[in-house]
């Protein structure tokens, strides 16, 4: 009975050791992350997370919003639409792309706000309401 017990403990010790080794020590374990994705494989989400969280503070509820990346990429824009659904509750999110297919430009122009992840080329007839290193938020002038 002792052998199985010791084997279980030895196996547990190996697994616990690797769990500790998997921690992101190089980033500073006790540094508060800016987003929940800072130190994992999905860290590419972090800029969009930061921008959309900031946008949520200034974009009113019940308006329509399009979120897109710069430079344009339909796959990236498909995901940005999904992130915006989560991080901008109460707004009508107009997809810049769906399932990696770009939406028609006229649909995007109807949105009240345009959020651009990355360095934006100023959209036509729009006023800048937020600019941070991760991107910018523009309000359409009607």
């Amino acid at each position: 009975m002792r052998k199985p017990l010791l084997l279980s403990l030895a196996g547990s010790a190996i697994l616990a050791g690797f769990s500790v080794a998997a921690l992101p020590f190089s980033r500073g374990l006790f540094r508060v992350p800016r987003t929940p994705y800072d130190a994992n494989e999905a860290s590419f989400l972090a800029p969009a997370w930061i921008l959309l969280q900031r946008a949520a503070e200034i974009v009113p509820r019940d308006v329509s919003v399009v979120v897109r990346g710069e430079p344009p990429d339909a796959t990236n824009d498909s995901y940005l639409h999904r992130f915006a659904v989560g991080l901008l509750p109460g707004r009508k999110i107009v997809p810049a792309a769906v399932w990696n297919v770009p939406s028609p430009p006229e649909e995007l122009r109807e949105a009240d706000y345009e959020i651009v992840v990355g360095k934006a080329i100023p959209p036509p007839a729009s006023r800048l309401v937020l600019s941070i290193p991760e991107g910018s938020v523009w309000k359409r002038e009607r």
Binding site: M1, K3, P4, L5, L6, L7, S8, L9, G11, S12, A13, I14, L15, A16, F18, S19, V20, A22, L23, P24, R27, L29, R31, P33, T35, P36, Y37, D38, A39, N40, E41, A42, L45, W49, H81, R82, F83, V85, G86, L87, P89, G90, P95, V98
Partner: protein, 446 residues
């Protein structure tokens, strides 16, 4: 920050909901901490099921839900005939036994703390939290029901509207209490549920084995799940919920608790939690119940009653969810990934290599290989070891066939899902290594 604390504090209501059931004299022998964890699991299942019933009836969620689900927990006591307590725990060993128990507890604690540190450091957050679990929970909390308009909205098909409701319901319940959905706090469900699984598992196994053996088996399961969870980014995803219900449900059926009505109903409630947490929870439940009835015939007598106690909670829970989807024209049953019974065998070698790569990326496949090595070296005896091994085999076959159903090349899908979907398999194999000797009842049966 305040919303996060409130959201986490709302979890304290769950053991209160389940307490009327765990207050039954049959469970009196368990310690208060262990009973609290089990009551939390039962509370989660009943609260989620009640929320789904409320949504089906068209009622908005409110505080009365807590009273209604606690009333169900109280009513379940009537299904338990015997008032005899479950068998008492074995005597704890002395000297060396205590040292081994202490080592196992330290290793378990290290794994849970590593999971906590990884979660706080944003190492293990699941993208699925942002893609669908969080948005659905947030919207349901805002609408105070399962929002069919949101689920039916154009361009939101990626939300997996048919996914069973337990995780989104529990997340939404906390969000109602907190006033908003706190994304960071949601990730803490990974270390929280890993800790709850550790407490529950060691408590259940203590009813059947001396403390060192129970603690060592729990440590192996928790350390494997900890490393797998950290490396495959499960924080905020449904896996911690699924594993909590699956592991404790199967563990109950490996111990003398399975011989009583109380133990069977408790296991049935945990199996319902697994089925309501993720789609693959349902085939898991069916495999567990069929194998238990076949392998432990003395505990399964009378057959009809045992089947009822084990399966009725799942049937009610999932039946309500499917009825909701059908009556609202939102979904009709679970969606497959291809035509049923049509398998693309030409994908088999690609699938096998993709699974191998996906598992390797998770701590060099150690969470999967170490429990297998321990199992082979300990050579478990008795029919009851066949329960976790058989369920692990059935679940592996189900996952493989699901990948084979995909009409498109499934390698990308496997790369982000296989390490998570196969984590119950490794936990079951670790649990099987616990069955190193036959139980007294097995010897009597022979």
């Amino acid at each position: 920050m305040r919303a996060g604390y409130l959201w986490l504090a709302s979890f304290a209501i769950l053991p209160l909901v389940g307490a009327p059931f765990l207050g039954h004299p049959a469970f009196r022998r368990f310690g208060i901490l262990f009973r609290t964890v089990l009551a939390g699991g039962v509370g989660m299942v009943l609260l989620s099921a009640t929320m789904t019933v409320w949504a089906l009836a068209g009622w908005r969620w409110g505080p009365v839900l807590v009273l209604a689900s606690a009333a169900v927990a109280f009513a379940l006591r009537w299904l338990v005939r015997s008032h005899l307590p479950l068998p008492a725990a074995r005597e704890e060993g002395r000297g060396e036994g205590r040292s081994l128990t202490a080592i196992a507890l330290v290793l378990t604690a290290i794994s849970i703390l590593a999971a906590l540190a990884a979660t706080i450091a944003a190492r293990s957050t699941s993208p699925d939290l942002l893609l669908f679990w969080g948005p659905k929970a947030q919207q349901f909390a805002s609408a105070r029901t399962i929002d069919t308009a949101f689920l039916s909205a154009p361009h939101l098909e990626y939300l997996h509207v048919y996914y069973p409701p337990l995780v989104t319901n529990v997340f939404a319940f906390g969000a109602i209490a907190a006033g908003r959905f706190p994304w960071g706090a949601a990730t803490l469900t990974f270390p929280l549920l890993l800790g709850a699984t550790a407490i529950g598992l060691s408590g259940i196994l203590r009813a059947d084995a001396p403390a060192p053996r129970a603690a060592a088996a729990s440590a192996l399961v928790i350390c494997a799940l900890g490393l797998a969870g950290i490396s495959s980014s499960v924080a905020g995803n449904a896996e911690p919920f699924l594993l909590f219900f699956e592991i404790l449900g199967v563990a109950l059926l490996l111990t003398p608790a399975a011989r009583s009505d109380a133990g069977k109903l408790l296991a049935g409630l945990f199996l319902a939690g697994a089925a309501a947490a993720k789609v693959e929870g349902l085939p898991f439940v069916l495999a567990v119940v069929v194998l238990f009835l076949l392998l432990d015939r003395s505990a399964a007598r009378p057959l009809a009653r045992a089947t009822f106690l084990l399966l009725a909670p799942t049937i009610v829970s999932i039946g309500t969810w499917l009825a909701f989807g059908a009556t609202r024209n939102v979904f009709f049953g679970y969606k497959g990934y291809g035509h049923s019974l049509e398998f693309h065998w030409d994908h088999l070698s690609g699938i096998a290599s993709a699974i191998g790569i996906a598992l390797w990326k998770v701590g060099y496949a150690l969470p999967f290989s170490v429990p297998i090595v321990v199992l082979l070296a300990t050579r478990p005896k008795g029919r009851r070891a066949l329960l976790p091994i058989g369920v692990a085999a059935a679940l592996s076959a189900f996952l493989l066939l699901t990948y084979l159903q995909s009409t498109q090349d499934p390698r990308l899908w496997i790369s982000w899902s296989a390490a998570r979907t196969f984590s119950p398999v490794t936990a079951l194999i670790a649990l099987a290594s616990y069955c190193v000797s036959e139980t007294e009842s097995e010897r009597v049966d022979r």
